[in-house]
């Protein structure tokens, strides 16, 4: 296949970026999208030019590091697919493809197609965990968990933290990411005790990290490579209101009791 690639090149967050055009004449439909970029990069290197910076690691759709906006779609045209799982057979001979980094206020560009997504880790630091230390825990089967809840929690926990939801959202919102973590933990009895405190802190954390608000576009769900449902956002909104209605002293005391 012949492919024309317009790839975004940008030195760093404070520099201006622009597209660079490359022609690839010998693309196999069995290649993954990243393998196609590998071919381009090896060619650039052989010409003594600096290759296009992009991230990848597991190359099987689970680590969440690959993150390309492909002709305007986060992770490209296939539904439920990460960039590294996308194959060139999804494109046609002669296609022109635009490749850009995630664009969001909370994800500054590091180089070319690589952005800094540490803001997502900082949202997790606001309570995206169960506060148990190693050792002092009950026997695993001492608490039964209804299979439906465990399955639903797993649906939410499948998030790979790639940030496609943020990149796809016109507001750069991290609602789907945050809601998925909240749902994962609150659907399980182990995550319940801290639920109110967690939801308040994570929602505030999300705002503090510069993520935008949700105005129900639903783009996040479309872009999500793990098909995580926006139902979780609705659940988060309901739960957040409930948590906010807790008597003021209770919630602020809870907040202080790190």
């Amino acid at each position: 296949m012949k492919i024309t690639l317009n790839v975004w090149r940008q030195r760093d967050a404070s520099s201006e970026g622009s597209f660079e055009t490359h022609q690839l004449d010998d693309v196999s439909p069995d290649m993954s999208f990243l393998e196609m970029l590998d071919v381009l990069n090896r060619r650039l290197e052989a010409e003594g030019k600096v290759p296009v910076a992009f991230e990848s690691d597991c190359r099987e759709g689970i680590c969440g590091v690959c993150s390309l906006m492909i002709s305007g779609q986060a992770h490209g045209p296939e539904s439920g697919t990460t960039t590294c799982q996308l194959h060139m057979r999804s494109f046609k001979d002669g296609d022109t493809i635009f490749v850009e980094p995630w664009r969001a206020k909370a994800f500054p560009v590091i180089r070319d197609l690589v952005t800094d997504r540490s803001s997502l880790d900082r949202v997790i630091q606001c309570g995206g965990y169960v506060s148990v230390n190693t050792g002092s825990v009950p026997e695993a089967n001492s608490v039964q968990v209804a299979k439906e809840n465990a399955d639903k929690a797993m649906d939410a926990a499948a998030c790979i933290g790639c940030g496609a939801c943020v990149a796809a959202c016109p507001n750069g919102s991290a609602m789907l990411f945050t809601a998925a973590k909240l749902a994962h933990l609150s659907l399980l009895p182990q995550g319940k005790p801290e639920h109110e405190r967690r939801i308040k802190r994570m929602v505030e954390g999300m705002d503090a990290q510069g993520f935008g608000a949700c105005t129900n576009h639903g783009e996040c769900q479309e872009a999500c490579p793990k098909l995580i449902s926006i139902e979780f956002i609705a659940k988060m909104n309901r739960d957040y209101i409930k948590a906010s209605l807790l008597p003021e002293h209770t919630s602020s005391e809870l907040l202080k009791a790190q």
Binding site: P138, I160, L188
Partner: protein, 637 residues
């Protein structure tokens, strides 16, 4: 090099308790005076960093990815073993211990394996408490599945994403400690060397991958949990960034490297499709619970799989190993696939493939059940191959997957360099010459949650905190060496891409130090690798600047280390004149083509000591004594 395994005396089931009692403790008020560096945030590193911070130590944690959550452990699919005996099918700590020692073909240390089986039960408790959404039965209790090399059902799982869920549990525990200020996290940071001062590991030198800046970090102890080195074969099931740099650099600073030739070739991976390929994708071993492996009985039978009648199929694992059948251990299953393909019965392009067939299981349980069990794996397969495994059997072939070899450690998980501890896949550990499925996750979490938090205290309690800073001359000397090496790399302006060197190395290793090895092939590899390395240092191309975000330089550094390390692997394979587990020396096999051990001469771990660049490394041995599991010819018939 002294190899004192420090195995506690006493009966095997009492050793760990006794040892915990005998170890020195650091007083709770003093813990915060000690600092610990943990390199790696996979299951081993994240669980260790979080648990040690909970105890009160000051922890610094490093990983090369942009977030600790992306460590390669995230990709583990099938499950984690634990001797819970929830299925009432005869499992016990002793049986898990026995299966692991036997599965490893009697090349692991009994005391360590027993402890691993003991703490396996605590791991599941811990993970459930963290909110890991393990699969459950309708009654609300935890579900299990079976894995290879065992006749009990002891594997816990979270769909096909067990590693992801376990790692998210450990990562969240780590983030909790980061937010509490007890762990300082350095993502996007690659460790390039260890600093040894006063006979102890006192810190590391790292490169910030975003800026290229080199800094050093001093501490009271250094923990490496940097994973495995399968990408030495170029194509493997590992993440493309997995590397040997951290452990190889530690080896060059005095840490013994044990059994580097012990690598696991996993039987069920999607076959190679072309030259462009950058990695191979695993199809979890759990599929062998329901999938049946076969090839046509007739050589070169060109009919589509579905048109080959039952009578013309050879279910060779069921035929050769009737009691374990499709659940034979990995080394056995991989070799059997290679044997059939080498003999001309393979299927698919180049005849390098065998069928993994779900037709029977779909008929027995219905498509929905199979979808629930393996849906994401089937999808992954279809996405890569464009074939639908619900309708046609999968085609699979073995691929490099796991490193049993690693830095030698004693019972406390300390290497031969005092104060340098090694956890998870990075150490040589508990799996001997062949790891059983679902046991790496178990070992990583055992090391990180339950062993190192105890054993590091014993080391620290014997050494006063502090006493060295990054200004010490030892740090300056190592930093200088690191800088020089980077200068050399970045000035490489030859004609060949780093990637092409890596591919060529991978091919040498796969052909000569892969599933089958022999003296002649290994000797050839030992000639070709140094020549390739020399060419690399003359003719490789590295673009960009040193003090900058530079992926070209990152890769070059890793490949340069593989080019040295590969030689050590071949040397180890050549010196071990026996077959055991995944190390199959073609000269040493039984009449039926099984691995033939030589317990007289090789019942030991081989530990290599670096003797300076250009000098041959020295081989030491740690003899292995089997008091509980009798040394026998492994049989899965």
């Amino acid at each position: 090099m002294e190899l004192n395994a420090r195995i506690p005396a006493g009966p095997i089931e009492k050793k760990w308790d006794k040892h915990r009692f005998e170890m020195k403790l650091v007083n709770p008020a003093n813990k915060r005076k000690y600092s610990v560096i943990v390199v790696g945030t996979g299951l081993a590193g994240a669980s260790a960093a979080a648990s040690m911070a909970e105890l009160g130590y000051q922890v610094k944690s490093f990983c090369y990815q942009d977030s600790p959550r992306r460590a390669h452990s995230i990709a583990a699919q099938g499950g984690i073993n634990a001797a819970k005996n929830y299925q009432n099918d005869g499992d016990s700590i002793y049986r898990l211990f026995y299966d692991t020692v036997k599965g490893g073909d009697f090349r692991a240390r009994e005391a360590n394996v027993y402890r691993l089986a003991q703490v396996s039960v605590n791991i599941i408790d811990q993970c459930v408490a963290q909110g890991v959404p393990f699969a459950r039965e309708y009654g609300g209790l935890l579900a299990n599945r079976s894995f290879g090399g065992a006749q009990v059902s002891r594997t816990f799982y979270a769909r096909g994403q067990t590693g992801q869920q376990l790692l998210l549990g450990a990562y969240q525990a780590l983030e909790r400690q980061i937010s509490a200020g007890r762990v300082k996290m350095f993502p996007h940071t690659e460790m390039l060397d260890v600093v040894v001062a006063g006979g102890r590991a006192r810190g590391i030198v790292v490169r910030d991958l975003k800026t290229g800046r080199i800094t050093s970090h001093a501490a009271d102890a250094v923990v490496l949990a940097t994973g495995g080195y399968s990408p030495v074969y170029y194509l493997s099931t590992n993440a493309v960034g997995c590397n040997v740099t951290a452990t190889y650099r530690a080896y060059r600073r005095g840490a013994g490297f044990a059994n580097p030739a012990f690598t696991q070739i996993h039987p069920t991976c999607i076959p190679v499709s072309g030259d462009h390929q950058s990695k191979l994708t695993l199809m979890s071993e759990s599929l062998r619970n329901d999938g049946r492996i076969w090839v046509p009985k007739e050589k070169g039978d060109g009919r589509p799989a579905n048109q080959i009648p039952e009578s013309d199929r050879d279910y060779y694992l069921e035929r050769r190993y009737p009691s374990f059948g499709n659940l034979s251990p990995r080394d056995v299953a991989s070799r059997a696939a290679k044997e059939r393909c080498d003999a001309g019965y393979g299927v698919g392009p180049g005849g390098l493939g065998v069928y993994l067939d779900f037709a029977d299981a779909i008929q027995r349980h219905g498509r929905k059940v199979i979808e629930e069990r393996y849906g994401n794996l089937f999808e992954m397969y279809q996405r890569i191959t464009d074939e639908n495994p619900y309708e046609v059997p999968m085609r699979i072939y073995p691929a490099p997957h796991y490193a049993m070899g690693g830095l030698w450690v004693d019972y406390n998980l300390m290497s031969t360099v005092p104060g340098l501890f090694v956890l998870g896949e990075a150490n040589f550990s508990d799996h001997g010459a062949n790891r059983l499925g679902a046991s790496a996750l178990m070992q990583g979490l055992a090391d990180g949650y339950f062993i190192i938090p105890n054993t590091i205290g014993d080391f620290l309690a014997r050494n006063a905190p502090g006493g060295i800073s990054e200004d010490a001359p030892e740090f300056a000397a190592v930093t200088d060496e690191v800088q020089q090496r980077l200068n050399r790399l970045v000035s490489l302006k030859g004609r060949r891409t780093v990637d092409s060197f890596h591919r060529e190395l991978g091919k040498i290793m796969w052909d000569r130090c892969g599933m089958g090895r022999n003296a002649q092939g290994l000797r050839e590899a030992l000639q070709r690798i140094p020549a390739l390395r020399e060419e690399f240092w003359k003719d490789a191309i590295v673009t960009g600047e040193k003090e900058d975000y530079n992926q070209s330089l990152e890769r070059a550094g890793r490949v340069a280390d593989f080019l040295e390390f590969a030689e050590l692997m071949c040397l180890d394979a050549l010196n071990r004149e026996e077959s055991c587990g995944g190390h199959f020396r073609e000269e040493y096999q039984t009449a039926e083509g099984e691995a033939q051990r030589d317990d007289q001469n090789f019942c030991h771990a081989a530990v290599w000591e670096f003797k300076g660049a250009g000098n041959a490394p020295q081989r030491h041995i740690e003899p292995l004594n089997f008091e509980y599991v009798q040394l026998t010819q492994r049989s899965y018939k």
